[in-house]
Amino acid sequence: MFLDYLVLGSSDQFINGGDILVTLAVFVILMIALKKVAWGPLMGIMQQREELVASEIESAEKSRQESQQLLEDQRSLLKEARLEAQTIVENAKKQGDLQKEEITSAARAEALRLKESAVRDIETEKEKAIAAIRGEVVSLSVLAASKVLEKQVSEEDNRALIEETIAKAGETL
């Protein structure tokens, strides 16, 4: 036919069986080879990355929770410590008050006791002094009287008389 040259890709034979086989073989071999050396490893590494990202996200979430937990713990610990400190201070204050009270009362009692003992001492000293003066006065009186009366009256009578007189004087004193 004179129009044959217009047929696209015309070839002399009906079909190129060899081309079909070669096309198939080349494509299949290429696919298998690439799967082995290129696509397989590449897919593997992409898979690996996916897993890595997932695990990273997971661990980040976990550590976030952990830190949250820690923060919570710290916060409660702080609160506890503050409470404890407050009670300690309060206790100390209370104790201080108590001690102050005690010390004051003890001091007061001591002072009272000292004063009392002093008073007593004074009393006994006074007593003693009075007694001594009294003895002195008696002997002086006796001496004076004996000088006055000479030997008319016995010493015993005199003494009894004088003592009576002094006792009377002491009462009025």
Binding site: Y5, L8, G9, S11, D12, Q13, I15, N16, G17, G18, D19, I20, L21, V22, T23, L24, V26, F27, I29, L30, M31, A33, L34, K35, V37, A38, W39, P41, L42, M43, I45, M46, Q48, R49, L52
Partner: protein, 237 residues
């Protein structure tokens, strides 16, 4: 611009050594690109690994737009290989073509209908195979009578129409691109070299457009592959 194809016979099979050469060249280029870019894989991707991962995600996107990843995951490798192989094949004929003794040796392998139809038939056969595998013989045959029984002849025709359109669309686009490039190259040698000035700008424009067509056709081929696969494999179509 009509060149003869080289033609030889081996063991009773006739074949075109030009096609064989170009198929092998395309396969080697694809293999080298993939091989070199997947050396030294890292969790933190750099350079070519980024590109390869982008291609993988791209094909994954094509598959995911047609079926869920659980059924479609097994077509991932097929899709990537198809995409890169067809793209490289489409581009191969762009920079130049080599004609020796009137026989065309260097060209895009996808500018030959036998090659593209082989790929198309392979895809359709694979889709039917996976259809049987996914639904069983009964479900597979039953899918031809859906949604109405009288659509059965149309369903049969559809299979062949799909095959033809899938293969011939690719072939037509690439072959037409090469024919026009051949014409422009012919113009460039006319008028004692003056034609070069007339041809250089249209040639550049057409080569750029052909790169675009080549990538679009590779994308369409993979896209339709996944569409046909999902028709056969998924239940809800």
């Amino acid at each position: 611009m009509q060149h003869k194809n080289p033609h030889e016979e081996l063991w009773g099979l006739s074949y075109n050594p030009g096609n064989v050469l170009m198929l092998v060249v395309a396969a080697v280029i694809v293999f080298l690109i993939a091989y070199i870019s997947t050396r030294n894989l890292k969790l933190k991707p750099t350079g070519m690994q980024n590109f390869m991962e982008w291609v993988m995600d791209f094909v994954k996107g094509i598959i995911s737009s047609n079926m869920d990843w659980k059924t479609g995951g097994k077509f991932h490798i097929l899709g990537i290989t198809l995409l890169m192989f067809i793209f490289v094949s489409n581009i191969l004929g762009l920079p130049f073509s080599v004609v020796i003794y009137g026989e065309l040796w260097w060209k895009s392998p996808t500018a030959d209908p036998v090659v593209t139809m082989t790929l198309a038939v392979m895809i359709i056969v694979l889709s039917n195979y996976y259809g049987v595998k996914a639904k069983g013989i009964k479900g597979y045959l039953g899918s031809f009578a859906k949604p109405m029984f009288f659509l059965f002849p149309l369903k049969i025709i559809e299979e062949f129409a799909n095959t033809l359109t899938l293969g011939l669309r690719l072939y037509g686009n690439i072959y037409a691109g090469e024919i026009l490039l051949g014409l422009l190259a012919g113009l460039g040698t006319m008028w004692g070299g003056l034609g070069f000035f007339a041809a250089v700008i249209p040639t550049m424009v057409w080569q750029g457009f052909s790169i675009f067509i080549g990538s679009i056709q590779a994308f369409i081929f993979v896209m339709l592959t996944m569409v046909y696969m999902s028709h056969k494999v998924s239940e809800d179509h």
